[in-house]
Every structure is written in structure tokens, then in C-alpha cells.
């Protein structure tokens, strides 16, 4: 339902001009992610999967860029296991600097929160990132890969110092010759840890974007 709303919204945007600001471009879009969470708490391993829906956006000039992402959904354990399902909310806000036409450096916070019947668990990670982009077919298709490492972080319940790293990569394809709509197929993996805790989150993501992805 939410996804169809995003698609309708983007279809509406398709008829409008991409950016009213000179030298500034914006991107906005919706995403759907099939997520797998592997949770390790003091030797026990839980595996949960589920669907997240979200939105993302970006604003970029020649040198600087800003991007945000928000998603929410529910991950469930395999039927028959004694693991509670979790409501999940995640998001990030990153400020970027375009070092070269193909390499951008980013920094900013990302957060993920789980809500279970037993309580909440909130991860907040401040990270530094590097994104490389390559053009396969000019104006039609591009690939990207991103790696990141935590600078600092914490997990709220119980309050522990946290760290982590991750990568994100995929393919972006323009949907039509002169279209402002792009589709993205991405794979993201994040591994965050604190004392006695480790969460590894994998996402297979499909995004529909209005404007040139940055």
C-alpha cells in the first residue's frame, strides 16, 4: 500500500522539472528492502527476515551533498522458533563531499531501532564513508560501491559503546531515454557490535528515484 503510494507520487513528479535551483540537484524516491537480521546476544544466534519500506532523498551541488534515508518494517523469525518478531525503524543522514567526479566522502549518523515485546533496542552509529561511482553507459546506467566504518556509536538498551562497519553496492538504471526516473538494485550489509552484542543486517533493496542518483 505504502509502496503503491510512493510509485504514484513519483509518477506525478515525473511530469515536473527536476530542479528549480541552478547548480543544485535533488533526488527523491521510495525503496523496498528485503532484510535479514542476524542477532548474536551472548552466544545465542537469532535470524529474522522481513520487508522494510522507506523513502530517501538527496540534495547536491557541484562539491557538496546531503542524503537522508528512512525505512520501517517488521522482521520475523522462522516459524517454529522461539524468537519474537521485531518492529524495525532505521534511518541515516549524511553530509558528503565530492572529492573527484567518481569518489564522494560522507559522514553522519545512522540509527536503527527494534521494538519487541521485551523492550526497545536502539543503535546509533556515527560513521565515515567513501562512495565510488562508475559509468557503464553514459546517462543510462551506473554502478556504485560504498564502504563505511564507525567512528563512534552506542546501543541504548542496555547503554553500551558500539562500533561497526558495512558496505553497500548496486546498479542504477535510467528508466527511459529522457526520463528523470531511475531504478536502483542494491545490496547492503552492516555489522554493528557492542559488548556481548552483534547485529548483522543484510538488505536487498529496490528503489525508484526521481532525479539523478548521487
Amino acid at each position: 500500500m505504502i509502496l503503491s503510494m510512493y510509485v504514484a507520487m513519483l509518477a506525478q513528479l515525473q511530469t515536473q522539472s527536476p530542479s528549480p535551483l541552478t547548480g543544485t540537484q535533488f533526488t527523491i524516491g521510495g525503496l523496498a528492502a528485503q532484510q535479514t537480521v542476524q542477532s548474536h546476544v551472548d552466544g545465542s544466534n537469532d535470524r529474522l527476515t522481513g520487508l522494510l519500506l522507506g523513502i530517501e532523498g538527496g540534495l547536491s551541488s557541484d562539491r557538496f551533498a546531503l542524503r537522508v534515508r528512512y525505512g520501517q518494517g517488521r522482521v520475523n523469525a522462522k516459524p517454529g522458533t522461539n524468537v519474537a518478531a521485531r518492529d524495525e525503524v532505521e534511518g541515516e543522514a549524511l553530509l558528503g563531499f565530492r572529492a573527484t567526479p567518481w569518489l564522494s566522502l560522507w559522514a553522519g549518523p545512522s540509527a536503527r531501532a527494534y521494538t519487541t515485546a521485551d523492550g526497545d533496542q536502539r543503535w546509533l552509529i556515527w560513521s565515515g564513508r567513501a562512495t565510488a561511482r562508475g559509468t557503464l553507459i553514459p546517462g543510462r546506467m551506473q554502478s556504485f560501491i560504498e564502504v563505511w566504518g564507525a567512528v563512534s556509536g552506542n546501543v541504548g538498551n542496555p547503554a553500551l559503546k558500539a562500533g561497526g562497519r558495512g558496505s553497500n553496492g548496486g546498479l542504477e538504471v535510467r528508466l527511459g531515454d529522457a526520463s528523470t526516473l531511475w531504478g536502483r538494485l542494491g545490496y547492503r550489509i552492516e555489522s554493528v557490535h557492542a559488548d556481548g552484542l552483534r547485529e548483522t543486517v543484510e538488505s536487498l533493496t529496490l528503489s525508484l528515484l526521481y532525479g539523478l542518483p548521487q
Binding site: 561511482r133 562508475g134 559509468t135 558496505s167 550489509i189
Partner: protein, 355 residues
């Protein structure tokens, strides 16, 4: 008396040098003075110089009429009848209502003037002097006067005698202002050069006058002020164009981002989440990116037409052509906006059929 003559002679001899720097009005006064002391040769020379003065020193129409009256009188006194008639006709053409002062000039001069008047068409032409106009929007005005009511045609003619523009065709009752906006009959801007405003009787007028033809000519010199125009942009250099056919280098450049990113997507989970069992999703995405890289490689293979590059090059050429067209249009506007300077000369009247 003797001293005056010597001084005047010296003045006349030195006049060619000094006259260059003198205005028409000064020369006119000197010519009138020469007439009054019967120094006719010097007087004629001074008056002709005065009538030929151009620019800021040129005589006003009233001064021209006075100069021509004295010139007529001087030529009568020198027994140069033809020259006297020519000067009188010029005076009549300039102002057909001009009356000679009988107190100033002897009866022979008045008689010759009357003779010239009888053979003149009774039409005069007068321009106000050097005029700057914006072609198309402003006009150069020539006053056409008539003591009778002749039916005439007034045209602007180029140096070869071709009609550039017809200014008037019809009866001149008392006076008509002829206006020329600097454009030809097709609305095109006229080139700089020498033109003539030619006034001739219509065929019907000639028939009613017993076949006698005449023409009144006002030479005009057309000049254009200089216009700053923008130089046209050069065509884009070859270095800016992308190859429209695939080559090996382009193919490799398309392959690397696909294969390298595809491999990184598959390998990096092992690094960032060592010890975890990464799902097959990474292989799906990494494989897709690598396959896309291979597809891009083959789409760039040597000889393959590159539609994207063709479109880019076409857009580059189109932008350049659009720029050129826009600058040409602006330059044409500036040229059109430039002022045209029109300098009228001395009008002349001839009898007989118009060539």
C-alpha cells in the same frame, strides 16, 4: 579707394588658404562685401565657397538664397549670362518665392531673374541639413514646395539611377514633406553611399505642359555609424565531440565499473561481516552488476554505433547553431538600430527629359 582695392585683392589672393578654416557665413559676408566694392571675380569665388561649405559651417537655407542672389548679380556684372541663369535657377529651386531686393541689385539682375523664373517649374526642394535617423523608425525629411500645383513623382535613386524607394506621387499643392526612413521598397536597409532624391513631373503633367520635361535633384550622401557586433562563436573543436562508434578503450571503461563493483559486492560482506553467513542476495546483486558491465562492454565494442554519444554530439552542434543564430539575430538588430547619417548636397534643376 586705391588702398581698399589693394587690401581686398590681398584678401582675395589669400582667401584660398584662409577659406578652408572659415564658415560659410563668413565667406558669404566677404563675398557680399566684394560685390559692394565691384570685386566680382573674388566675390564669385567667395560665394561659391560659401555655398559649398558643409557640416557645421554650412549655410542655412536663407543664407544660401542670399548667396545665390549675390552670385547671380555678380555673374551678370561679369557678363557671364549662363552662369548667372544657373545661379538664378538654383535660387528658384531653393525658394521659388524669393524676391530680389530692387534697392540692392540693378534692373538687369532682376530681369535675368524673371527670365529664369519663367523657365523654372515653380518647384523647390529643401533639406534641413545633416540628419541622423534610426532606419525604419525615423525619417529624413525634405521639403518640397511649389508655386503652381504640379503633379510630380519623387523617388530616391541609387548611383546607377535605379529607384530605391518612391517617396511621393501626386499633386504638390503649396508644399509636401517627403520622408525617407532609410529603407528600400522591400523594407531592406539601404547601403551607405551617394543617392539622389529625384523629383520629376508625371507623364500627365508633361503632356499638359506640352511635353516639356524637367527634373529636380537633391544629392544625398548616406553614411552609417559604426556598430559593435558580437563575433560569431567558432564551431566546437573536434576534441569536444565524443566518438560515435565504439572503440576498445571505451569498451574497457564501461566494463571495469561493472565487473569491479560486482566483485566488490560479492567479496566485501566477507570483510565487513567476517564470520557471518552472508545470504545469496549479494551474489544476485553483484552478479547483476557484473553482467551489466559485460553488456556495457559489448555495447561499446569497436564499430558499434553509440546512440548516447551521437545524441550528445548532435546536442553540442545544435547548441552551437542556436548560439550562432541568436548572435546573428542580435547583431542584425544592432545594425538595424544603428543611426544612418544623411547629408544633403545642393539641389539642381535641369530641363529636358529625365535620363
Amino acid at each position: 579707394m586705391h588702398r581698399i582695392l589693394i587690401a581686398l585683392t590681398a584678401c582675395v589672393l589669400l582667401a584660398p588658404v584662409a577659406a578652408r578654416a572659415q564658415s560659410g557665413t563668413t565667406l558669404l559676408e566677404q563675398g557680399v562685401r566684394a560685390y559692394s566694392v565691384h570685386e566680382y571675380d573674388g566675390g564669385a569665388w567667395l560665394l561659391r565657397r560659401a555655398l559649398g561649405a558643409e557640416g557645421a559651417g554650412a549655410l542655412s537655407p536663407a543664407e544660401q538664397a542670399r548667396a545665390l542672389a549675390y552670385l547671380t548679380a555678380i555673374e551678370v556684372a561679369r557678363n557671364q549670362r549662363d552662369s548667372a541663369l544657373a545661379a538664378a535657377r538654383r535660387l528658384i529651386v531653393l525658394d521659388p518665392r524669393y524676391r530680389l531686393d530692387e534697392q540692392t541689385f540693378p534692373p538687369q539682375v532682376a530681369a535675368l531673374y524673371q527670365e529664369a523664373r519663367r523657365s523654372a517649374p515653380g518647384v523647390s526642394i529643401r533639406a534641413t541639413g545633416d540628419t541622423a535617423i534610426r532606419p525604419g523608425t525615423e525619417s529624413f525629411v525634405v521639403h518640397l514646395g511649389a508655386s503652381t500645383a504640379p503633379e510630380v513623382t519623387a523617388t530616391v535613386n541609387d548611383p546607377d539611377g535605379r529607384v530605391v524607394r518612391t517617396l511621393y506621387s501626386g499633386t504638390v499643392r503649396d508644399s509636401v514633406d517627403l520622408r525617407w526612413n532609410g529603407l528600400d521598397a522591400a523594407g531592406k536597409l539601404s547601403d551607405a553611399g551617394r543617392y539622389t532624391i529625384l523629383v520629376v513631373p508625371t507623364a500627365r503633367e508633361r503632356r499638359s505642359a506640352g511635353g516639356a520635361g524637367w527634373s529636380l535633384r537633391l544629392p544625398i550622401e548616406v553614411a552609417r555609424t559604426t556598430v559593435d557586433t558580437t563575433p560569431l562563436p567558432l564551431a566546437p573543436p573536434d576534441s569536444l565531440f565524443r566518438p560515435e562508434r565504439g572503440d576498445v578503450r571505451g569498451a574497457v571503461r564501461a566494463l571495469v565499473p561493472g565487473v569491479a563493483v560486482g566483485a566488490a559486492i560479492i567479496i566485501l560482506p566477507k570483510v565487513v561481516a567476517s564470520g557471518e553467513h552472508a545470504s545469496g542476495a549479494r551474489v544476485l546483486v553483484g552478479g547483476t552488476v557484473a553482467i551489466a558491465g559485460l553488456a556495457a562492454f559489448f555495447s561499446h565494442h569497436p564499430g558499434q554505433q553509440l546512440a548516447g554519444n551521437e545524441q550528445y554530439n548532435r546536442s553540442l552542434r545544435d547548441n552551437w547553431r542556436r548560439n550562432v543564430a541568436e548572435i546573428e539575430r542580435r547583431n542584425a538588430d544592432r545594425v538595424r538600430q544603428a543611426r544612418m547619417i544623411i547629408r544633403p548636397g545642393a539641389a539642381s534643376f535641369t530641363t529636358g527629359d529625365t535620363p
